[in-house]
Symmetry: C2
Subunit: 310 residues, 2 copies
């Protein structure tokens, strides 16, 4: 009853961390590529087997997975990077294989839980976590409870309309936050501007990334600064919606784009301030960067594992 095995399913690798209850330092972390020989599930099982402790009993396996899933049933509706995981009952399958209780959670939701328990959200009871990278996801802690919704689909913070009739989002709808302010949207804006003749130190580069744009902004490239400010404006508008609905005491930014420095963050704060209906929503509101970095998936899974089962 003392070991929790946390699994983080990432874009390129699956990681397993072994934690003893009461410690946030893993006894061991191992990984396997997401794509490779055999099925992803078989490789994941082999990974779990490889970290299974010899002399201690495992209490729970907890899986953090991208994509929509149902924490109640343990079914992953679809996992973007793993072909074949459509309506895959990963929870029940792992329970059958290893004979221990298994829980699953959306990776962004669990990152929110991890930041709350172990990271930048410690001491707060109302947390909004946003991760901004190739997509925008997040999670909400309300009065100490992870907000899941009826089927685990809540807190889809990247998919709210910010600009009606705006560009088409990965989900098929128009003008969602994700399609306006995630990394690819920032890069697309810069590329479009360069194509239409705007000067930039990034001119001539192919396949721009948000990181390169952040670096160019830091060196004074006006177009890059403008691109970050534009993304920040949209994020701030969405954030106003979120604070009106969730009234958090802390907002935590994770993901690559959140490390874009002050051009983005200042713009987010300015836009939020302009868009709140009342200053009471931002008085005392803490805005922080995520503290767990690459470990947010494992730590989030650990945090879920530590919650009492219903």
């Amino acid at each position: 009853m003392s070991i929790i095995i946390a699994i983080d399913i990432g874009g390129t690798q699956i990681r397993a961390g072994v934690y003893r209850r009461g410690s946030i330092e893993p006894l061991e972390v191992r990984r396997t590529p997401t794509q490779g020989e055999g099925t992803a599930f078989e490789r994941m099982c082999a990974l779990i087997q490889s970290v299974w402790p010899e002399h201690e009993s495992v209490e729970k396996i907890v899986v953090a997975s991208p994509g929509p899933l149902d924490p109640e049933t343990g079914v992953i509706a679809s996992a973007p990077n793993i072909p074949g995981w459509e309506n895959f009952a990963i929870g029940p399958e792992l329970e059958k294989r290893f004979g221990v209780k298994t829980r699953i959670g959306n990776d962004a939701n669990l990152a929110a839980l991890g930041e709350w328990r172990f990271g930048a959200g410690q001491g707060h009871q109302h947390v909004l976590y946003l991760t901004i990278s190739t997509g925008i996801g997040g999670g909400v802690i309300s009065d100490g409870h992870l907000l899941l919704g009826a089927h685990g689909l809540a807190a889809e913070v990247g998919h709210i309309t910010v600009l009606p009739d705006g560009p088409i989002c990965s989900c098929g709808q128009r003008g969602h936050l994700e399609t306006l302010a995630a990394g690819p949207a920032i890069a697309r804006f810069v590329q479009e501007q360069i194509s239409s003749g705007v000067e930039s130190t990034l001119k001539g580069k192919e396949k721009l990334t948000a990181r390169e744009i952040s670096e160019a902004a830091a060196q004074g490239d006006a177009l890059s600064i403008q691109a970050l400010a534009r993304a920040g404006k949209y994020i701030g508008e969405a954030l106003a919606i979120f604070v009106h609905l969730f009234n958090p005491s802390v907002v935590i930014f994770g993901g690559g784009v959140s490390f874009s420095g002050n051009f983005l963050l200042d713009s987010i704060k300015e836009s939020l301030e302009q868009n709140v209906m009342d200053k009471s929503y931002i008085q005392g509101l803490v805005i922080a960067n995520a503290a767990l970095g690459d470990n947010s998936g494992l730590m989030g899974a650990l945090a879920l594992g530590l919650l009492p089962d219903n």
Copy 2:
């Protein structure tokens, strides 16, 4: 320890209901005008005194009040209809006066709680309640918890941006749901269209109400039908945001406008369906009219009174 006194502060009257634990039928209901002789607080105290049971002990007073307030501290930030109630510590004042525990809640939040416990939300654990009348308010139950946020300011569902650069809202921001789809917005649209030459059976009427427009729509007035469909489109767009964020299993509509019949509701449903990112958000989603009607404030206060104190 058996009587709960519920207070509902409305636009024109303050009502007090006396409930015995275990019953939802009030032993007595009395009322006093919101505006009148003496201060509103003194008249409210006299009202409470008048219903105070002679032979039974009062366990709690629970107040449902409009406007922003802090359920933790019992302070009303401002009450739209009661001059002088700015940062008014109504909870502590009532406790001092009557010597019993007092709790307060936003009336729309408490209506959500009441619908969940006693009305159209029974049996659900994830409830979104929207009240659409002169304004738009609401409340959210998530996993059986009323969503309050850090300072009780959550679930301000009327104040989310639906149309950037749209008309100015009562709160000062632009394009909020309330300023596009509440009763006055529906009336304003019809009046503007008539002024610009559009034909309608309502032509020549002054001070149109949403009720008159609903009646005209029922009798086939094309402009009125268009006005309701337009409001429904905006409400559906906002609802898509809400279901992405809260993933409720039931959406309950209260307030006058919700009784506008199928023109509004059909338009809301169509717009919601067009705007969700995935059908899983609306599969099995129940859409219902509020069941408690004018009693939603009292029943909501009762529901809050029945919650265990922290």
